[in-house]
């Protein structure tokens, strides 16, 4: 397990460089989408680390996407500021709501976050001003660094990888340090950690807010890459896909969601011809995976011992 943990990040680095070697427009398109989805999957991973499954992540992604898109397109603010807002607004919302909804665990929390995700999408659908309703938002300006737009797929991909790397290493540093000790205490034996002075609710709020912020960043990159967004991109299916990436990639290591993204994102792009049967096949594959996963799914959630 130790050696695996050391090799895998290097494999990821190699995988990240592959698109430059293959060098086609379509390759970079898929690679960019992998990077964006990897961020979303990473955001779910963080909530799993404290023993909670948040199903609202695509909703937070949507908030980041719409915020960044509307601020840059309509208020003319620079992309990087929009990106910052895309992180901050969902994080604030999650931090606020977290005070209430993090008091429950397990199933109830999953249900609540499911509803939250749905409610957010409904907001985008219902309020045609400013969200454009079902038609969404178009004409989103491209990613631009200090006024210079990135106009090639290679450049956009490089930026996405950069953001992913920053988020990944920031998470890793925190998890290896003292916050990691607090979080592992909460996940391993919450009653014990609390009896020794660990503010379980406070820490889980921070993690929930951070995961929402990361999802928001993912949304902003998505919006500015595609140039248009619509509400259905941020519904529960997107969250479920991100969850599946965690299941497939493994939840023990921080690189797990990245691996899951690399494995899963290209699939629909490759089987685009069988659109009508796509969902059915996806569902069946997932069922088989779930039924025959070697360790069972007990490992997916670091459950706090009470």
């Amino acid at each position: 397990m130790q050696t695996l943990g050391r090799i895998l990040p290097w494999l990821i680095v190699i995988a990240a460089i592959v698109p430059f070697a293959v060098n086609g427009d379509f390759t970079f398109h898929v690679a960019i989408l992998i990077g964006i989805q990897a961020l979303l999957a990473l955001s779910i991973h963080l909530t799993l680390r404290v023993g909670q499954l948040s199903l609202a992540q695509a909703g937070f992604m949507g908030i980041g996407a719409y915020a960044s898109a509307l601020f840059t397109r309509d208020a003319g603010i620079p992309f990087l500021v929009g990106l910052a807002c895309a992180a901050a607004i969902p994080a604030l919302l999650a931090g606020l709501l977290g005070g209430i909804i993090l008091r429950v665990r397990g199933v109830q929390f999953a249900l609540l976050t499911f509803m939250l995700g749905e409610a957010i999408v409904l907001l985008f659908v219902e309020f045609v001003i400013p969200f454009g309703g079902n038609n969404g938002v178009m004409g989103i300006p491209p990613i631009a660094l200090f006024g210079i737009p990135l106009d090639s797929r290679q450049q956009i991909y490089a930026f996405v990888i950069l953001v992913l790397a920053v988020v990944y290493f920031a998470s890793r540093t925190l998890l290896r340090g003292n916050p990691g000790i607090a979080l592992r205490g909460i996940a391993g034996n919450e009653a014990l950690a609390q009896s020794l002075g660990t503010d379980s609710l406070g820490w889980r709020r921070v993690v929930f807010a951070a995961s929402a912020g990361i999802a928001g960043i993912s949304g902003s990159l998505y919006a500015h890459y595609l140039g248009y967004i619509s509400p259905e991109a941020f519904n529960i299916t997107t969250t479920i896909n991100a969850l599946v990436m965690n299941v497939v990639g493994g939840t023990a290591l921080l690189v797990g969601p990245l691996i899951g993204a690399i494995l899963l994102v290209p699939l629909p792009e490759l089987f685009r011809s069988a659109v009508l049967y796509q969902q059915l096949l996806y569902g069946l594959s997932l069922l088989l995976l779930v039924l025959f996963l070697p360790q069972g799914l007990g490992s997916i959630l670091r459950r706090p011992r009470t």
Partner: protein
């Protein structure tokens, strides 16, 4: 018994589950100068009272004060940060973590327990160094040095319970609350637990409150005994006073007669 030492005061504390009053209008005071024992027959409300003090459950009415500060309604971790640290009746460990590391983390949680510490990075370095020293010191104090680098969840039951008390010590409490520390321990382990609790009080000047069923141990160890029955205090004073009180004898004899 008046002293400048922090006191734990309960004023008319009640709590019920369903229709049953588990704790009914309890008034008590204890001093961190004493080792206090909380005794009573099964179902007397000792564990409930304990859980109320440690904020594991919420009181329906009444107030709990520690060192003059109202701690009613706080979260368990807030109470722990104020210096009231408990150990558990069953061994509580973190999976895959060594004994030494348990103690180090116990010492560290006081500093890193709240996320706001992220804003105060400089003080943490000092806390980390101190935590290492504390872990080493407590390892010796609790006589756990020989298992320092073993995974705690694989140790014997009795050793894990000693570790539980040791972790509470590592957290630097002013009052240590031990929930049936001797439960499930054999004779030798019980003697060691007794030694540890006495040493905590005498050498570290930490107040101790124990719930215990082992009456002889309580009478040997404690300087202040509070007896509960059916959710109310029936005797409160020095061990020989409580042991001789009629209410206490009736409560215990009554329960023994029922058991016979």
């Amino acid at each position: 018994m008046t002293s400048p030492q922090p006191q734990l005061v309960l004023e008319n504390v009640s709590c019920h589950f369903g229709g049953i009053r588990a704790v009914n209008g309890v008034d008590l005071q204890l001093d961190t100068n004493d080792i206090t024992g909380l005794v009573g027959p099964n179902g007397a409300g000792k564990t409930t009272l304990f859980n109320l003090i440690t904020a594991t459950i919420r009181a329906k009415s009444g107030r709990i004060l520690f060192a003059g500060r109202n701690i009613t309604g706080l979260t368990p971790d807030a109470v722990a940060r104020l210096g009231l640290v408990r150990s558990f009746q069953s061994p509580m460990t973190l999976p895959g973590v060594t004994v030494r590391e348990h103690l180090r983390q116990a010492a560290l949680f006081q500093a890193i327990g709240r996320p706001s510490f992220l804003l105060r990075r400089r003080r943490i370095a000092a806390a980390e160094a101190q935590a290492r020293r504390t872990a080493d010191a407590v390892l010796d104090f609790a006589r756990l040095a020989h298992v320092a680098d073993e995974p705690a969840d694989q140790l014997a039951y009795g050793v894990q319970k000693i570790l539980g008390v040791a972790m509470a010590v590592a957290a630097g409490p002013r009052l240590l609350l031990a929930d049936e520390p001797a439960a499930g321990l054999n004779g030798a382990e019980t003697a060691e637990m007794e030694r540890l609790l006495r040493a905590i009080h005498e050498e570290l000047s930490i107040g101790v409150l124990v719930i215990e069923h082992d009456l002889p141990m309580v009478m040997r160890l404690c300087s202040h005994v509070i007896a509960l029955a059916q959710g109310t205090v029936i005797a409160d004073g020095r061990p020989h006073e409580v042991r001789g009180s009629r209410a206490f004898i009736e409560a215990y004899l009554g329960s023994e007669a029922d058991a016979a």
